[in-house]
C-alpha cells in the first residue's frame, strides 16, 4: 500500500496549491462597458499615496484633478488660472493675500469646504513629520521654516504656519515670507487642494477611498489595478461631469493599452507607445490627439565641474546647442510629437503667460559651420569628447540621445566626440545628479507644476533652487527673478522673467531641445476628448455615445 500513500501525498499537495490559487479568482468586479456612459481609460500605478501634498506625478495627479477642486483651476485650453472655489484673491503689496471663498461648496460626504479645510490641509502638507513630497510648495508661506526646517535631522518648532490666519469660514489671509506677485496663480496645483476632516482623523482609511470636493467620487479602488470613479450628483461647481463616470485601469505596458483600444476593450489611452507613432494616424485617424504640453526637454551641464566651469566653456555649450539638428530628430525619431525648442519655457503658456518663440535666437538653431567655430573658440570639447547621461529604464531616451550625439559628431567630423552614457535606473540617475557626481552633460526634463513662466525658470536656474541640476548661479538672473516676483502686476512680472531668461542664451546652463507634446487616442464611443496643458485628458468634459 506504500504506493497509494505516496499518491495521496502528492494529490494532497496539489490540492492545497489549487485551493490557494482559486482564492480571489472569479470575482469579476468593475470593468464597466460602453453604453452605460462610463469612460474606460488607461492608467498607471501612482507611485505614492494619493494625498494631494504627496502626489507629484501625472498618474496620481489625474485622479486628484477628478475628485478635487481647489481655489483656482487651470483652463484646459488656455492654461489661465481661473477662480474656482476662490471668490477673490487680493493683495496690495504682493506679499499679504486676502482669500475669500465662494459659499456653498461641500465635500462629497457633506462636509462644507471652508477656510479651515484649506489651512489644515496646507499645514499638514508642510509639516516635516508627514514627509510630504510637495512640502516645498508651501515654502513661500510665512512660518514654513518653523514647521519644516531645511537642515537634515532638524525638528520642527511649530505645527502650523504663522502666515495662515482664518478670518471667517469663508475668508482667510496668507502672509508670504517674500514678495511673489504670481503666487495666486500657483494655487490651482494639486498640493493646494483642501482636505475634509475625515482625512485628518484617519489618513490611511481616507487613502483607500479618497473623498474630495470635485465632480467625481471614488466608488471602488483596488490599489495597483483599477479605480472606478462615478459622477457626483451633488457637485455644484461650474464644471460637472458630462459622463457617468470613469474606470481607470492600470496597464504595465502602454503597448497593451493601445492593443486594447484597437480591440475595443478600452476607450481612452493617454500615452501612445513610441513604437506605434508611425501607425497611429492610420489606425485612429481623427481620434488621435497630439497637442503641446507643459514639458520641455533639455541637456543640462554640471557647471560645478572644472571641465565646464571655465569662462570659455559657455562658448562650447552654445556651440553644442547649435550642433544639434532638432528639426530632423523631432521628425525622424519622435514623428512630430516633439517641437524644436526656441526658448526655455513652453508654448502652452501662451504669449501673455511668457512664452516667446525664438527668444533663444540663432543659438538654438542648427548651424554646423558656426557650431564648429564656437566650439573651437571655446577651446574644444573638454578632454576632446563628451558623453550625454540618461536613464535607461524608462522613457526610451537612448534613441534620441544617440541621434543628438550623432548630430554633434557629424558637425565636428569626429565619430567619438559624443556618446550616450546610460544609467540603469532613474533612481540611480537622480542620485548621481543630486549628489553632484556628474562630470558630463546629462538629459533633464521638466514638467510644469502650474502654467507660469516662473515655474520654468526659478526652480531650474535660480541660485540653489530645488531643481537647479546644473547648479547655475548668476546674480543678475537672481536679481531679475526677485524683481519679477516683486512686481505688482502680471505683465511686469512676465517681462522681467523674460529678461532673466535672455541671460540663459549667453550662459547656456542647459540646452533647450524640444517641447514635448501630449498624445492620446480614443475609441468611437467617445467624443469631446481633449488634453489639458498638463497632457492629462479633460475627463469631466468627455461625452460617451
Amino acid at each position: 500500500m506504500r504506493g497509494a500513500t505516496r499518491v495521496k501525498w502528492a494529490v494532497g499537495v496539489v490540492a492545497v496549491v489549487l485551493t490557494a490559487a482559486a482564492c480571489g479568482g472569479g470575482s469579476d468586479s468593475g470593468g464597466g462597458s460602453s453604453g452605460s456612459g462610463i469612460v474606460r481609460a488607461s492608467w498607471a500605478d501612482p507611485q505614492n499615496p494619493l494625498e494631494p501634498a504627496d502626489t507629484n506625478e501625472v498618474q496620481g495627479g489625474k485622479v486628484l484633478d477628478m475628485i478635487f477642486r481647489g481655489l483656482k483651476k487651470y483652463d484646459p485650453k488656455t492654461a489661465k488660472a481661473d477662480n474656482m472655489i476662490a471668490d477673490s484673491i487680493t493683495t496690495t503689496d504682493s506679499q499679504n493675500f486676502d482669500i475669500k471663498l465662494k459659499p456653498g461648496w461641500t465635500f462629497s460626504n457633506g462636509e462644507p469646504v471652508n477656510a479651515d479645510s484649506f489651512i489644515n490641509a496646507w499645514n499638514f502638507g508642510a509639516l516635516l513629520k508627514n514627509a510630504q513630497l510637495n512640502a516645498s510648495f508651501f515654502s513661500y508661506i510665512d512660518g514654513y521654516d518653523q514647521v519644516h526646517p531645511s537642515a537634515t535631522g532638524a525638528k520642527s518648532t511649530a505645527t502650523t504656519m504663522s502666515g495662515l490666519k482664518k478670518v471667517s469660514d469663508t475668508e482667510f489671509t496668507a502672509k508670504l515670507n517674500q514678495k511673489f506677485a504670481l503666487w495666486p496663480d500657483t494655487l490651482g496645483y494639486s498640493a493646494f487642494y483642501p482636505l475634509p476632516k475625515v482625512f485628518f482623523d484617519n489618513p490611511t482609511a481616507w487613502e483607500s477611498k479618497p473623498i474630495g470636493d470635485g465632480p467625481y467620487t471614488v466608488t471602488s479602488y483596488t490599489k495597483g489595478s483599477q479605480m472606478s470613479l462615478r459622477k457626483w450628483d451633488g457637485y455644484k461647481g461650474p464644471d460637472p461631469a458630462q459622463n457617468n463616470g470613469v474606470d481607470l485601469r492600470v496597464y504595465t505596458d502602454n503597448n497593451t493599452a493601445y492593443t486594447d483600444l484597437q480591440a475595443g476593450n478600452l476607450d481612452l489611452v493617454d500615452d501612445i507607445p513610441a513604437s506605434q507613432l508611425q501607425n497611429v494616424k492610420s489606425d485612429l485617424g481623427s481620434r488621435y490627439i497630439n497637442v503641446p504640453a507643459g514639458i520641455i526637454q533639455t541637456i543640462a551641464f554640471p557647471l560645478y565641474d572644472s571641465r565646464w566651469s571655465s569662462a570659455n566653456s559657455a562658448k562650447v555649450r552654445q556651440g553644442l546647442s547649435m550642433a544639434i539638428d532638432r528639426k530632423t530628430i523631432t521628425q525622424q525619431i519622435f514623428q512630430n510629437t516633439r517641437t524644436p525648442a526656441t526658448d526655455w519655457t513652453s508654448p502652452v503658456l501662451g504669449d501673455a503667460g511668457g512664452y516667446k518663440a525664438g527668444l533663444c535666437g540663432d543659438t538654438c538653431v542648427f548651424d554646423a559651420a558656426k557650431a564648429k567655430q564656437l566650439i573651437q573658440q571655446g577651446g574644444g570639447l573638454p578632454g576632446g569628447k563628451i558623453t550625454i547621461g540618461y536613464n535607461a529604464d524608462t522613457g526610451s531616451h537612448k534613441a534620441w540621445v544617440d541621434a543628438v550625439c550623432n548630430s554633434i559628431n557629424n558637425v565636428l567630423g569626429n565619430n567619438n566626440a559624443c556618446v550616450g552614457d546610460p544609467t540603469g535606473t532613474f533612481a540611480d540617475f537622480r542620485n548621481k545628479i543630486t549628489s553632484k557626481q556628474m562630470t558630463n552633460p546629462f538629459r533633464a526634463g521638466w514638467q510644469m507644476d502650474y502654467p507660469l513662466i516662473q515655474d520654468f525658470l526659478q526652480p531650474l536656474y535660480y541660485t540653489n533652487a530645488s531643481s537647479n541640476d546644473s547648479h547655475y548661479s548668476n546674480p543678475d538672473f537672481d536679481n531679475l527673478v526677485n524683481q519679477a516676483n516683486g512686481a505688482t502686476n502680471t505683465g511686469d512680472a512676465v517681462s522681467k522673467y523674460q529678461d532673466a531668461e535672455k541671460l540663459l542664451i549667453t550662459d547656456m546652463p542647459a540646452i533647450p531641445l524640444w517641447y514635448q507634446n501630449g498624445s492620446a487616442g480614443y475609441s468611437t464611443n467617445l467624443s469631446n476628448v481633449a488634453l489639458n496643458p498638463f497632457s492629462v485628458p479633460v475627463y469631466n468634459e468627455i461625452k460617451v455615445k
Binding site: 490559487a21 514627509a131 535631522g153 483596488t222 489595478s225 497593451t256 533612481a427
Partner: protein, 307 residues
C-alpha cells in the same frame, strides 16, 4: 516518508535565510530609492531624511537586514512606497500568477506529453518530422514575439478572446497567456517525452508486457509511459518555479497584475521590501516544487524508496 519530508523542509531554512540575505544586499546595491520619489526635482534634505527615517533607510545595511528579518518572522514583509503592505501585494499577485502557471503547466502536460507519445511511437513518420519541425520553430521564436502576434491575431483581428486580462484574472481569460507562457517549455516536454519513449520501447519490460499479450493501450500507459515520464516530471517540476518567476514578459504583454508585474514595479522603483519579499517566496516555491518532484519519483518508479 514523513521523516524524509521533514528533513527536506528543515533543509529549506538555511536556504531561505541565505537567499533573503543575498537578495537584500543585491537590491540595496541598486542605490537609494528616495531621490527618484521626487521626480526631476532635487529632494529637499529634511523631507528626504524624514522618509529615510520612516523606511528605516537611515541605518547601516546590517542593521537594516536584521530589522527586516525581525519583522519578517513576525509576518511583516514591509511596505511598498504607495503605502501598501507587501503581504497585501502578495495576496493579490500570487493567486493570479499561480492560476497562470496552472494553465501553462496543464498545457505542457496535456499537449506536450500527448505529442511526445505520438511522435515517440511513430518515429520517422511524417507526424514525427512535422512535430519536431514545429517544436524547433517554437523554441527559436522569443516569447514576446509569439505573445504580441497571438494577442494581435486572436484578440484584435479575430476577436476570439480578450486582448488583455481583467484585474481579477479568471481562468478563462488566462488560456491564451498561459499558452504563450507554456509554448517553449511545451516544446521541450514534447522532445523529452519523445526521446524517453523512443528509448524505452526497446526495453525488456515492454517486450515482456507485449509478449504477455497485454492490450497495446495498457502497455503504453501503464508500463511505457510511466517509466518514460521520470525525466519529464523533473523538467516540469523545476519549470513551475521558472514559470512563476519568469512570467514577467507574458504578464506585461497581457497586462496581468501578478508576480512579474510587482517585481518589475519593485525593481523600477528600487523598493527593496517588495523585491526581497517576492523573490524569497519564489525561492520557497522552487524548493517546494523540487520536493514535490522527488516525491513523484517514488510514485512513478517503484524502485525508489524514501526512508
Amino acid at each position: 516518508m514523513g521523516r524524509y519530508v521533514i528533513r527536506r523542509l528543515l533543509q529549506m531554512i538555511p536556504v531561505f535565510v541565505g537567499s533573503t540575505f543575498l537578495i537584500f544586499f543585491m537590491v540595496y546595491a541598486l542605490g537609494d530609492p528616495v531621490a527618484a520619489l521626487f521626480g526631476d526635482k532635487a529632494p529637499d534634505p529634511a523631507t528626504a531624511a524624514q522618509i529615510r527615517h520612516d523606511l528605516y533607510l537611515d541605518h547601516s545595511l546590517p542593521a537594516q537586514y536584521i530589522h527586516y528579518m525581525k519583522n519578517l518572522f513576525s509576518g511583516d514583509f514591509g511596505q511598498a512606497f504607495n503605502g501598501q503592505s507587501v503581504t497585501e501585494l502578495m495576496g493579490s499577485a500570487f493567486p493570479v500568477t499561480i492560476r497562470l502557471t496552472i494553465v501553462a503547466i496543464l498545457f505542457e502536460i496535456i499537449i506536450g506529453i500527448l505529442l511526445g507519445v505520438v511522435t515517440g511511437m511513430r518515429r520517422g513518420k511524417p507526424v514525427d518530422t512535422g512535430v519536431l519541425l514545429l517544436t524547433l520553430v517554437v523554441i527559436s521564436v522569443p516569447t514576446f514575439v509569439t505573445g504580441y502576434v497571438l494577442q494581435y491575431l486572436l484578440g484584435v483581428k479575430l476577436q476570439w478572446t480578450a486582448s488583455s486580462v481583467s484585474p481579477s484574472a479568471p481562468f478563462n481569460e488566462l488560456i491564451l497567456p498561459g499558452l504563450v507562457l507554456a509554448l517553449v517549455s511545451l516544446a521541450y516536454v514534447t522532445r523529452l517525452t519523445r526521446t524517453s519513449i523512443a528509448e524505452n520501447t526497446r526495453a525488456d519490460y515492454v517486450r515482456t508486457a507485449v509478449a504477455k499479450g497485454l492490450p497495446r493501450r495498457q502497455v503504453i500507459v501503464r508500463h511505457l509511459l510511466r517509466n518514460s515520464l521520470i525525466p519529464v516530471v523533473t523538467f516540469i517540476g523545476t519549470d513551475i518555479g521558472a514559470l512563476m518567476g519568469g512570467a514577467i514578459v507574458t504578464e506585461r504583454i497581457f497586462n496581468i497584475h501578478g508576480v512579474g508585474y510587482q517585481l518589475y514595479q519593485g525593481i523600477l522603483r528600487n523598493n527593496s521590501p517588495t523585491v526581497v519579499g517576492f523573490v524569497t517566496i519564489l525561492v520557497l516555491v522552487f524548493l517546494l516544487a523540487n520536493l514535490l518532484v522527488d516525491l513523484l519519483y517514488a510514485v512513478l518508479d517503484p524502485r525508489i524508496r524514501y526512508a
